[in-house]
């Protein structure tokens, strides 16, 4: 039996970063908001406290904060000729779950995408010609510019309290910051994190090669900070348990530390956890959402009618929810038509290890999720791609996040992978190895996409999402080029031995790379190649907004969270200032 609940103004699918931000903006506008979170409630105290929060086996290996894939997995295949199988244990990427979502277990790396990223297709053609884009590469413009998003990036970073050093304030270049960044209206809210030793060695080496190192912008804070919501964050203690963990110190910017307590006090907001949304309901015309149907933790079915639906779950789940709700036309790779599930992209990662003499103590355990030093000389279109024949780029950084005992076992090439020699090598190299990360972009292609799996279903009987993905040749070329640059920096750092190689295909889901899954509900100006308009409003259902990294038409060199937050504020602003006054499509198709 389905219980039909009283209508609310707004229903949020997912109470993570996006849900919390939209909840706050819309309750502030006077609307009654119901937040539906499939996972459990969790707060800094008691859920993230030490020592249990430092249980590496539980959180890093067994992925305690992640989507329960015994109930809800993703199936995977490299290409359409294969049969996809469910991912039984998350490895390559880690969809979070629970109150606060993935912003609980993120690392806090907080970068703005560039104007060249938002206009990737136009700018690539303008600089290199239309033939520069390979036939199977479906990159496109976002429909927004860096200038459009600047106030929203700014507001989001001041919500987070991000620690960094500006490189360009209103067009004036500032020494010590990222010289390639687009103009920002003011400096970061807090000064950069302290520079770890390995990062200092990187800085020196990168500068000696003519690059422009700068401190990685971090949302694990360098000092106490009170944000505009009145929430005070503490200083990061460099414990090295950020990614895959909640922060016990109130030092990482997560919904729990930046916004949720304020939202939960608002009488217009209702939080319901343990609620698995099954579908978004639409009226007979198919053009208007009427609410959502969900099943609670006791297995009871509910219909929650709402005037406005905000779909703000993890990128992959945003796509799946639209497919399950039959909203929009699913993408068909054969014909290239349809939009939902189209332009799934990832991130092209590689690394370089620099093995030092045992006199050089790197102290990898004394790190934070976003401490370290990076260069953006090879990001986006910051260098001439003409001679190289690929689109995109990567940042290179000594941004080690931890020296956790189960996961951090640096050994030089040639070391056996088990046994006495392996143990000896770890003891020798543990404290004397720096790792450089090459964090690269990912173009969208015709063959990489998301749809519903024809075979496998979740615990509620709904089809799983099916991922079809392999690394495009373009990205492997990019990785080869930038990884070579990182190897040169590694050698300039004075390592006794420098190891590393570019990303190679085929893509595997059995080793961690990154949780930056993007696309599938992409934004744009053309309804035939996008799912939502530039305000993240569904082209098909005007009272449905889809917000997250699923909006990215392709993925840029940088980490996505800052852009997700900026888009959330951008969309919230459009809803509050325009949509609520006159509900209907904000852009005519």
């Amino acid at each position: 039996m389905v219980t039909r609940l009283a209508e609310t103004d707004v229903v949020l699918i997912g109470v993570g970063l996006v849900g919390t931000m939209l909840g706050r903006e819309l309750t502030r506008a006077g609307l009654k908001v119901v937040g539906l979170e499939r996972g459990q409630p969790q707060f800094t105290v008691p859920d993230f406290q030490g020592p249990h929060m430092h249980d590496e086996l539980r959180f890093s290996i067994r992925k305690a904060l992640m989507q329960d894939n015994t109930k809800e997995a993703v199936t995977f295949r490299n290409n359409a000729s294969q049969t996809a199988l469910p991912i039984r244990r998350w490895e390559s990427f880690l969809p979070g779950t629970g109150l606060g979502g993935a912003a609980v277990h993120w690392n806090g790396q907080t970068y703005r995408f560039m104007d060249t990223d938002f206009k990737l297709r136009t700018r690539t053609i303008a600089r290199y010609g239309a033939n520069f884009i390979p036939a199977d590469v479906t990159i496109q413009d976002w429909g927004v510019s860096a200038e459009d998003l600047e106030p929203h990036y700014d507001r989001f970073e001041y919500l987070l309290g991000t620690s960094g050093k500006a490189g360009n304030v209103k067009g004036s270049k500032l020494a010590g910051g990222n010289p390639f960044e687009d103009p920002r209206s003011r400096d970061y809210p807090t000064p950069p994190m302290k520079e770890p030793y390995g990062s200092a060695i990187f800085r020196k080496a990168a500068a000696s090669l003519g690059y422009s190192p700068y401190p990685q912008p971090s949302s694990n804070l360098s000092q106490p900070y009170t944000n505009p919501e009145g929430m005070t964050l503490n200083t990061c203690m460099f414990c090295g348990y950020c990614e895959r963990y909640g922060c016990e110190h109130y030092a990482k910017s997560s919904p729990q530390t930046i916004l949720l307590p304020a939202l939960l006090k608002d009488p217009n907001f209702t939080l319901r956890t343990g609620c698995q949304v099954q579908r978004i309901n639409v009226d007979k015309s198919g053009k208007v959402a009427t609410g959502v149907s969900y099943i609670d933790a006791a297995g009871r079915e509910f219909e929650q009618p709402a005037k406005l639906v905000i779909l703000g779950s993890f990128a992959l789940n945003n796509v799946r929810m639209l497919l399950l709700s039959k909203i929009g036309k699913p993408y068909d790779p054969q014909s290239g038509s349809g939009t939902v599930g189209r332009n799934y992209a990832y991130q092209t990662m590689s690394s370089v290890q620099v093995f030092f003499d045992s006199k050089v103590n790197i102290n990898p355990f004394m790190r934070s999720g976003a401490s370290g030093t990076v260069i953006s000389d090879f990001v986006s279109d910051n260098f001439d791609h003409g001679p190289h024949g690929f689109i995109g780029g990567a940042y290179i950084g000594e941004i080690m996040t931890n020296g956790r005992p189960i996961e951090f076992h640096p050994t030089p090439p040639g070391t056996p992978s088990w046994g006495l020699e392996w143990k000896r090598a770890i003891a020798r190299h543990y404290n004397h190895t720096a790792v450089l990360t090459i964090h690269g972009s990912s173009v969208a292609t015709r063959a990489n996409y998301l749809d519903l799996d024809p075979t496998y279903r979740d615990a509620w009987g709904q089809p799983l999402l099916r991922m079809t993905f392999d690394f495009p040749q373009n990205d492997l070329k990019m990785s080869a080029y930038v990884t070579q640059k990182a190897l040169e920096i590694g050698r300039a750092m004075g390592g006794v031995q420098v190891a590393g190689a570019a990303r190679k295909g085929p893509y595997t889901i059995t080793q961690y790379q990154t949780t930056h899954n993007t696309g599938g509900t992409v934004m744009g100006d053309d309804p035939s190649t996008s799912v939502v308009n530039r305000y993240l409003q569904s082209w098909d259902v005007h009272n449905l907004f889809v917000i997250g990294a699923s909006n990215f038409p392709q993925n840029a060199s940088y980490n996505p969270t800052d852009t997700v937050g900026a888009l959330a504020y951008w969309a919230a602003n459009a809803i509050v200032t325009r949509y609520l006054k006159s509900p209907g499509p904000m852009v005519q198709a």
Partner: protein, 308 residues
């Protein structure tokens, strides 16, 4: 290099970097009765450390001619401190922490009418000597007594072990170790410390009179706590047995904390270089793809299955 020393060094390396492991070890000790402290094995010190500790012992007992009065008159013959007078217990406190506090008293960053002039009179070597001496002490009686009713003790324990979300205060244990028995070498132990000293210290953090935490954590935390909370948590810690001195006070490279020797060159294996953590140095290939040249994520027993 023998194997056992490599292993023990590796264990210590791991323990030093992992609060969880360290915490586990300390938890095990906590189960012992307080009387067991007296029989705790003495620290093995290098000759250099022993010399520092011996010199420190002389200063603590007799003072030094450059205006340094004997420490024992306030901090007790065995570093047990003086409850009721605000003089803290020092026995077994980390050398790093004690030495830093002396420097802070000396440069005026931290102030106390009795301690400040003494610290200002000390030279750097004397600070190191007395800090080393106190760090090695293990036979101070646990004299601290907490005075609080059951409800306050419960509140103190909650703040110590769990924190309180309603005031955004995290558990003391996050930094000061489970049971307040010290965390790493930078964070002092609180267990067995005197209630009045703890209360005065927290009040000083709260008022801003003490502002020597480079992270800024302690002032933020103290300001969020009511005076009743401060009294409760101080009483709770005062009731806990003081920990024995920890090897964390001993620098790596000494006899009791050897550093690993070099691995034998060239393992002869052909496995991929791997083990660069998680979101750092993501692997370049893995699973059934064979050897990758770059870093790979070493995920222990759940690691990638060999190619079939």
């Amino acid at each position: 290099m023998n194997i056992s020393s490599t292993r023990s060094a590796a264990i210590k390396t791991a323990a030093a970097c992992a609060g969880a492991l360290l915490a586990g070890a300390v938890f095990a000790q906590q189960a012992k009765p307080a009387a067991a402290q007296a029989t705790a094995p003495a620290l093995r010190l290098t000759a250099e450390q022993q010399a520092l500790a011996d010199a420190g012992a002389r200063i603590t007992k007799s003072g030094a001619p450059n205006g340094v009065t004997a420490c024992i008159s306030c901090h007790g013959a065995n570093g047990e401190g003086t409850p009721g007078a605000g003089f803290p217990r020092l026995a077994g406190q980390s050398q790093f922490y004690l030495n830093r506090q002396l420097m802070l008293f000396a440069d005026g960053s931290r102030n106390h009418p009795v301690m400040s002039p003494i610290a200002k009179a000390m030279d750097r070597q004397q600070m190191l000597q007395t800090s080393t001496y106190y760090a090695t002490l293990s036979n101070a009686p646990s004299t601290a007594k907490g005075k609080a009713d059951a409800a306050a003790m419960q509140r103190g324990r909650m703040l110590a072990d769990w924190g309180d979300e309603s005031i955004h205060v995290q558990a003391c244990a996050n930094c000061h170790g489970p049971g307040g028995r010290g965390g790493m070498f930078t964070f002092p132990y609180l267990a067995g410390q005197h209630q009045d000293y703890l209360q005065a210290a927290m009040t000083a953090w709260k008022s801003g009179a003490r502002n020597t935490d480079p992270s800024g954590q302690m002032p933020v935390i103290a300001k969020r706590m009511s005076d009743a909370d401060i009294a409760a948590v101080s009483a709770y810690f005062a009731m806990q047995p003081a920990p024995p001195p920890l090897t964390r006070s001993v620098p790596a490279g000494s006899a009791s904390r050897p550093v690993p020797g070099p691995a034998r060159a060239g393992g002869g294996g052909s496995s991929p270089a791997r083990g660069t953590g998680t979101e750092q140095g993501a692997p370049t290939s893995g699973g059934g793809q064979g050897a990758g040249g770059g870093g790979g994520t070493q995920v222990g027993p759940q690691g990638p299955m060999p190619a079939k």
